[in-house]
């Protein structure tokens, strides 16, 4: 008979034994050595019937196709823009995927996106060698003007967005700020300076306490009392 060594939702570190025996199956973030299943990352154990997997709690962003990210223009080349993605890899934004507008050959590309600009882009391709292509053509994809960009742990992004965007909507409504959350952990916030600061503090609160029980209520309360204290 197999035996589960750790409970569901416990935090484990690499090398920690999660289960013994062949009844359990190693999923993402776990591996089998002999009769044992061990953790392969720092994470939260998820037991789903006989399947064990880990929900990672830390780490840099890894580019994935169809992710919407916030990226920074770091170079303008002959046929497009090179973007910094908050990951180990830069992305290429080819001229043809930049805008619905016609760009003539030899046009001044900096008129569209200049070095230092931030854009909301969608990842269209990631090769095995991690060459990343993005597009800024599509709903919501654009150059970001003004505002403030902060970085959060990319693994907390789903929590910051909330179910059907509930969490981020709540912050938007309470602060009257425009907010765009990139899957890569960059978040853009624009509005009145004081309100931006409140929104930033609310986001940081989620980032730092993402697994706290009743987080939504705590954030709500925080935004109601003014959100001055961090």
């Amino acid at each position: 008979m197999g035996k589960l060594i750790v409970e569901n939702k416990t935090i484990v570190v690499p090398g920690e034994t999660l289960a013994e025996g062949m009844d359990y199956l190693p999923g993402n973030g776990t591996y089998r050595i002999g009769e044992k299943i061990l953790a392969e990352k720092l994470g939260l154990v998820n037991v789903d019937g006989r399947a064990l997997k880990l929900i990672p709690l830390a780490g840099r962003y890894s580019p994935k196709i169809n992710d919407t990210i916030i990226a920074k223009v770091i170079d303008v080349t002959l046929n497009g823009w090179r973007l910094e993605t908050n990951s180990a890899y830069t992305a290429m934004l080819p001229v043809k995927d930049a805008t619905a507008q016609y760009i003539a050959r030899g046009a001044n590309l900096t008129a569209f996106f200049d070095i230092g600009d931030h854009v909301v882009a969608k990842i269209t391709n990631v090769t095995s060698q991690k060459l990343v292509d993005v597009s800024t053509k599509g709903p919501g994809l654009r150059k970001l003007a003004g505002g403030r960009i902060i970085g959060v742990n990319p693994y907390k992004v789903p929590r910051i967005i909330g179910k059907q965007g509930s969490m981020v909507s709540m912050i938007k409504d309470a602060t009257n700020c425009k907010i765009t959350v990139g899957q890569n952990g960059f978040i853009w916030i624009d509005g009145e300076p004081k309100e931006i600061l409140r929104a930033v503090n609310a986001v940081r609160m989620i980032d730092e306490n993402s697994h706290m029980k009743g987080l939504t209520d705590k954030v709500k309360e925080f935004l109601q009392v003014g959100g001055e204290a961090k």
């Binding site: 200049d114 403030r148 600061l197």
Partner: protein
Amino acid sequence: MSNDQKQHMIKSFKQGVRFDERGLEDFRKLTISCKPSKTAEGSAVVKLGDTEVIAGIKMMVGTPFPDRPEDGVIMVNAEFLPLASPDFESGPPGIDSIELSRVVDRGIRESHAMDLKKLCIKKGEKVWIVSIDICTLNDDGNLLDAAALAALAALKSTRFPGYDGEEVNYKELTDDKLPLAQEPIPVTVYKAGDVFFVDPTKEEQKNVDARLTITSLGDGNLCAMQKGGEQPFTLDEISKIVDLATKRSKDLRKEIDKL
């Protein structure tokens, strides 16, 4: 950071709203812990918000400079360790860490903070060499002020090692302190657009056009300065900066006095 975001920061600062809850003229929370390193004859860790710097003092016996046969020697060195920031690289000291160490050095040297004559063991032959090494642990802006405070706190915590005339005994420190006559305290005032502020985070510091470090003494006199950044200052601006810096240095001095 793009120009756009810089304009946004300036707009925000003009309304008195920084990237955290402070006012423009406020420092982050300062904590100083003394003697974090037992191998140093004196040491201190300074935290300014998330900026963290360690300074350590090593005492050695060596020969004085020929033109100053009765004076002990002070050396200041700063290492921007790649441990402390993704922007720091391994390798020989870059210009930023050289500048920092020289500004700290000037503050200590030009204020005659240390009575160098008291570091003389035998005129022309043997003097104490006080080596101040500053290492970054985490860079979240305003390294310069944090580093100088760490250096000063480390000097204050220093005890001479034993010395029998031949060899330094590092295993047993004496009760003797360094001959510190002055305590130079630096405050750097930063400028972005036409807004002035102190102690920026790294995110704020990226938008800085110019800065001026003013090192001042307990009696209110100034002992060292350094202007940085690519924008010039007017006389009015400089006078405003000096006022702000001396005001803030009094607060910092209270923390140093507690040590």
